[in-house]
Amino acid sequence: MNASSTKMKEPSILIAGANCQKLVRNLSYVLDAAAVQRLHDEVNRNVLALYALGEDHLGFAQTVPGRNWRQRVSRLYYGALNIKRAVTLHHSGDFSTDASDHKKIGNLPPDFPNENTYSTRLTNLRDDRNIADYSHLSTELDLVIPLVDAQTLVVDFREHARSYLQSRGLTL
């Protein structure tokens, strides 16, 4: 069997248990080191794919003209969200495709650089994305984080996430 699943259906390390890092930890006493490593590799492959997805959204956001502020804010948010999901998957094993996952955008590992700043600012970005995507009455002036600052925020977050994941042994 190929250890790399490309689907979010069985078999997948991400749905093998409520928390894949916990799963690996609890299987490590019955599996040999090589098997445990293969499980880690599979988790890491997903971390990298989530990070790449975030980068993809960010890259696209940067090409969206400023006049399309709604699309730009939306893509920046999805860039940040997926990079954040990569970080938490690697740190604690948390992963979810549920809509409620958006509310956890501010839940970063306590040792993440400027954790409180990113926690608040990414939550603000989610609120901005909500009015950008769903509020027909809103204008660009309603944004809590101006467009140019939102881009700086997500680019900086991407850089800190990259360093953080590298410091945990990932090659990015």
Partner: protein, 519 residues
């Protein structure tokens, strides 16, 4: 939702944040969005600390508060004209005042995040497995360097004890050594077991209290081998022991070598190390007649933190980095944000490169500038703070040179008359005569921060006659109307040239000074 609800909820959030920000209420406004109100707290340069405080405040406010989950910290849209009226400036002033007293608890929540390294990077040395004597004038950073080493011990789980010698100020009895050893023992016991041996040692030390000085010291000496074994057990259990002795100089000079001798008997060859701070001119680690104490460099290495004004450019950078770190902690981009032109340079001269004096002066200058309706800290406000600082130094003298106040005032008066009245220059040359009582006494004025060294030794005229270049403290002539005509040495702090120094008038201690110091 009414306007009243919005105001009430906003106030609740700001007040909850103020609890964690020295009671300073940050600027707040409500952004009225299509999806409802959003709270915006404005700060000139938002730092991580403010986001942490916001999160903690949001966690503590009412569940139905409009801003429970809808608030942020934003950079101020534009810099106000009057920057001294900003809440961030009030916070900065309070933080500067708090940082003036450094002890083992300073910055305890985030020590390494806020610590600024010493000019010469002594941090790597002071944590090494060796004894150190750390010298510097009041405010030069001795306690901060000790605290750095202590926090490293804490971080690594290594045992340590910290003794603040101010508690024993002016003690000249032999029991002071017993009290210090007892305090060290108490603190170290937290790293080991409160064993029978610990209790027995404590009881042995307590018994000394009822004895005369000689008997008490003999009793302590009999306990030393057992104390050494107790230390050794802690070392085996937890690793190297560090004993921090802060401000040794405040104890009677006669007792200083004895205290160190007793401590060194316990720590020597026992993977335990002494880190001692003091003002060099008033510290006596070694008694050459009795051959007791700690002798540098054999027993302890000396780290000198204070280079007076001999490297003013380096001092300027160091003081700027300390002020800027505090400013950023308080939400300002840097200290220049609230300062007028030339303020930092003047601060270096007025503080004579002593970091704590610079912080104190800057905090006072903020108050004075605000009171005068100025929009930024000005040179005038620094000058006004300087004369008050001189009063503070005179008060410090009572602790550092107890009993010498009158002689110090008299000699200082002569130098002041020479500089301010006779020559109208704030800098002068003094011939180096190490055997001369007047020369040695003036070195104590340097230790007390009334006079500052510009150059340790130049030969301006005749070969073989070397002179120290000195500067009278700014507090004795700036901010004072009668002394405004004094010609100030240099404007911007930079290493003085020989040409500049040669032009300085030579101060020769006259008969009056000689009679004072010979008393």
């Amino acid at each position: 939702m009414t306007m009243g609800t919005t105001v009430r909820d906003g106030l609740e959030l700001v007040n909850a944040m103020a609890v964690k920000l020295n009671s300073v209420k940050l600027d707040f406004y409500v952004k009225d969005r299509a999806d409802g109100p959003y709270g915006i707290v404005e700060v000139a340069a938002p730092a991580e600390r403010f986001f942490r405080v916001l999160k903690e405040a949001q966690g503590g406010i009412s569940e139905d508060n409009l801003f429970k989950e809808r608030a942020t910290i934003s950079r101020r849209a534009s810099a106000p004209t009057n920057r001294l009226s900003l809440p961030e400036t009030q916070l900065f002033k309070a933080t500067l005042s708090e940082s003036l007293t450094v002890d083992r608890y300073t910055f305890s929540d985030n020590f390494f995040g806020r610590y600024i390294r010493s000019v010469f990077g002594f941090e790597d040395q002071v944590v090494s497995a060796a004894n150190y004597l750390i010298y510097g004038r009041r405010g030069a950073g001795k306690s901060s360097l000790l605290a750095y080493a202590m926090h490293r011990c804490k971080q690594q789980g290594l045992p340590y004890a910290w003794v603040d010698m101010q508690v024993y100020a002016d003690r000249d009895d032999a029991k002071v050594a017993i009290d210090v050893v007892s305090e060290v023992l108490d603190q170290l016991s937290k790293f080991g077991e409160q064993s029978n041996e610990f209790r027995s040692l404590k009881s042995g030390l307590a018994e000394c209290a009822g004895m005369d000085d000689t008997s008490a010291d003999r009793a302590l000496m009999r306990l030393l081998p057992r104390l050494k074994s107790y230390f050794s057990a802690i070392v085996d259990l937890k690793g190297n022991v560090s004993v921090f002795i802060d401000d040794l100089h405040v104890v009677s000079a006669a007792m200083q070598p004895q205290i160190l001798a007793r401590l060194y008997s316990i720590t020597r060859g026992n993977r335990s190390y002494l880190k001692i701070s003091g003002i060099e001119q008033f510290t006596r680690p070694w008694d050459s007649k009795k051959n007791i104490g700690l002798q540098a460099p054999n027993d302890a290495q000396v780290l000198k933190l204070d280079y007076n004004l001999t490297m003013p450019d380096k001092s300027r950078d160091h003081i700027a980095s300390i002020l800027d770190a505090h400013a950023r902690f308080c939400g300002l981009p840097d200290s220049a944000y609230i300062s007028g032109e030339g303020v930092l340079s003047r601060l270096v001269w007025v503080a004579a490169a002593v970091p704590r004096d610079a912080l104190n002066l800057f905090a006072q200058a903020i108050t004075k500038a605000s009171a005068q309706g100025q929009r930024r800290v000005s040179i005038t406000s620094v000058n006004a703070a300087a004369s008050e600082m001189a009063e503070q130094k005179l008060r410090d003298m009572q602790q550092d040179a107890h009993g010498q106040e009158e002689r110090v005032q008299a000699v200082l008066g002569e130098i002041r008359k020479f500089c301010v009245t006779d020559k109208r220059k704030n800098a002068f040359l003094l011939e180096i005569k190490n055997e001369d009582a007047a020369f040695r006494f003036i070195q104590e004025l340097i230790a007390l921060r009334f006079v500052h060294v510009l150059h340790e030794g130049i030969t301006p005229h005749e070969a073989g006659r070397r002179y120290q270049a000195l500067m009278l403290d700014y507090g004795f002539y700036v901010g004072i109307r009668a002394a405004r005509s004094v010609d100030l040495f240099q404007k911007d702090p930079k290493t003085p040239t020989v040409q500049e120094l040669r032009k300085l008038p030579i101060f020769t201690p006259g008969a009056q000074i000689n009679s004072i110091v010979d008393d």
